[in-house]
Amino acid sequence: MPELTYAGAVNAALRRCLEELPETLLYGEDVAKPGGVHGVTRKLWKDFGDRVFDTPISESAILGSAVGAAMLGRRPIVEIMWADFFLVALDQLVNQAANVRYVSGGRLAAPLTVRTQQGNSPGACAQHSQNLEALFTHIPGLRVVVPSTPQNAYDSMLSAVHCDDPVVVFDNRTLYFGEKQEVDTSAAPAPIGGSTVRRTGSAATVVTWGAITHRVLEAADRLAADGIEVTVLETPWLNPFDHDAVHASVARTGGRLAVVHEANVTGGFGGEVVVRALEAGVLSARPVRIGAADGRIPAAPALAAELLPGTDRIETELRTLARD
């Protein structure tokens, strides 16, 4: 199994899709000749010719042409360089892609994958720091995944591209060049969906997705050092979401649930996870939502750190939850 960074894993998955699925295309701003501003799509252009190309700074045309190409039988993979930039062209996903299959009664489909990355990195401005997955999980017709590890990223991309509906894949740029890991690149593409138990423990269930998973695991390790063992359930797929796994786990952990995401709390997808657990009747303790403070993200790292959920805060809140 090759050792890959997260970026390398995405690259390998894209390469495999381009190889195995002749109907795939890969395009977006700076993705071809420059190999992507984060270097994720490096060298693909060399090997796949004009199936991989750079585009003008035209998010509406990027997404809209992907919808059109998908309707006509292609399987486009397009990049929106920063999730914040979706907002100049959200129409093409929400009013267009999401409607294609349903409104046509299944006569048409829009099997497209949108790659993007999101979240704060130190010094990033308010317009390059948002975590916007909740805007998409509210939209029926779209699929959403937020991976956190090289394997995860590889598998998600494969599943997304094979999915016959529009899928948005949210990376986090701080993960791209982290540690290399062995990645199984040989398995058949799995259907979309699913979750992974990242550690087990009976004190509480902590549900999380995306880059912050690593902070959650760190916090869980610290708690473990004090004898408090929590289950960390990573749910990269937010649509379809593995509510069953969450509920089963919560039931096994004394009805205690925490959800951690980097997005701000109000209206974040964490709320949905909590309500569904409540509706399923599996909660016994007051659940905890951990996320960014409801605010804009300032550029100064010291200010941003105050608002974003850090390992310390996660640890403290989980400790309280486990104790109650």
């Binding site: 509406s60 042409s65 006509l72 292609r74 129409d91 267009q96 009664g105 299944g106 048409l108 999915c163």
Partner: protein, 313 residues
């Protein structure tokens, strides 16, 4: 030959006109529900342009798209059924008047978001570049849509990559209730295309033959790798933006002048003295439409139990 063609065009235009007028009646009688945008007065554009599209090509229109769907061959009964919420509609009633598609006939759909379909056509052309079909795509939109950023992006995208897209702008001088000259400084819309490096022409959109020959020329170039083109069709709608719009923003004189140049009137005059029985053409169109509407009205409503189907694969 020219007369034969014109006779056929008049017949095709009458089918559309009769369809739209039947919708007016169905709306009045309460059988057609919701917002409906008629293309009465603009029939020459679809009738002229669609004959230049072949199997495999892809057409994208707007909410004002009934005429385009019909000209592409969508059966009248299935279209009525769609608009009437019947199970037999082209989308089983899910699309409705403003957002249906009929891909079996190369009609990849209306769109109710102004300007959004232009980039879909770009994508269809892009697909054609890779699937060996040699497809060209056509995007139809109005004069007002030219001020929507998405349209400019789509046109530049097609230009940058030499994609075979024909951008057809039906300039009826109004966006909804507002005249074009209040909204632009330069009403020569072709210049916007030219500035992007796209060949462009502004022509009389009430003359189906002129529309056809212009589209034919650009279609041939596009099929030969010449890339996109832009056609501005000067036309008019004789009715409100939607059924119910009483057009207080237009003078009687303007409407009367429009009535003199509208395509059915012009074609009918042109055929006067030719021996062609234009009344019979109209009569046949109306009869076909009546029958289709009748059938559609007898079709079953879409079944509520199916309302959740087809959200995902």
């Amino acid at each position: 030959m020219t007369e034969d063609r014109l006779e056929a065009d008049l017949a095709a235009m009458w089918r559309i006109r009769a369809f739209e007028e039947k919708l007016q009646a169905l709306h009045k009688s309460g059988e057609l529900i919701g917002s409906v945008h008629l293309c009465i007065g603009q029939e020459a554009a679809p009738v002229g342009a669609c004959t230049e599209l072949v199997d495999g090509d892809a057409l994208f229109a707007t909410y004002r798209g009934h005429g385009w769907a019909l000209a592409k061959g969508t059966p009248t009964r299935e279209l009525f059924a769609e608009l009437l919420g019947r199970a037999t509609g082209v989308n089983g009633g899910r699309g409705g008047s403003a957002y249906f598609s009929a891909p079996e006939y190369g009609f990849y759909g209306e769109n109710s978001i102004v300007g959004a379909g232009a980039s879909h056509a770009v994508g269809a052309a892009l697909a054609g570049k890779h699937d060996g079909s040699g497809r060209i795509a056509m995007a139809v939109f109005g004069d007002g849509a030219m001020n929507q950023g998405a349209v400019g992006e789509a046109m530049n995208f097609a230009a940058a990559f030499d994609l075979p897209v024909l951008f057809v702008c039906e300039n009826n001088r109004y966006s909804e209730l507002t005249p074009i000259n209040d909204m632009v400084r330069n009403d020569q819309l072709t210049e916007r295309a030219t500035a992007l490096g796209i060949p462009a022409t502004r022509i009389d959109g009430n003359d189906p033959a002129r529309v056809r020959s212009t589209v034919a020329g650009y279609a041939a170039e596009a099929r030969n790798g010449g890339g996109p083109a832009f056609v501005e069709l000067i036309t008019q709608r004789l009715v409100g933006h939607y059924i119910g719009d009483v057009q207080q923003y237009r003078t009687r004189a303007e409407l009367e002048a429009d009535g003199l140049v509208e395509p059915l009137a012009v074609a009918t005059s042109a055929l006067a003295g030719s021996g062609v029985d234009t009344d019979a053409i109209e009569g046949r169109a109306r009869a076909e439409i009546e029958a289709a509407a009748e059938q559609a009205l007898a079709d079953p409503f879409a079944d509520p139990d199916t309302a959740k189907e087809h959200l995902y694969a």
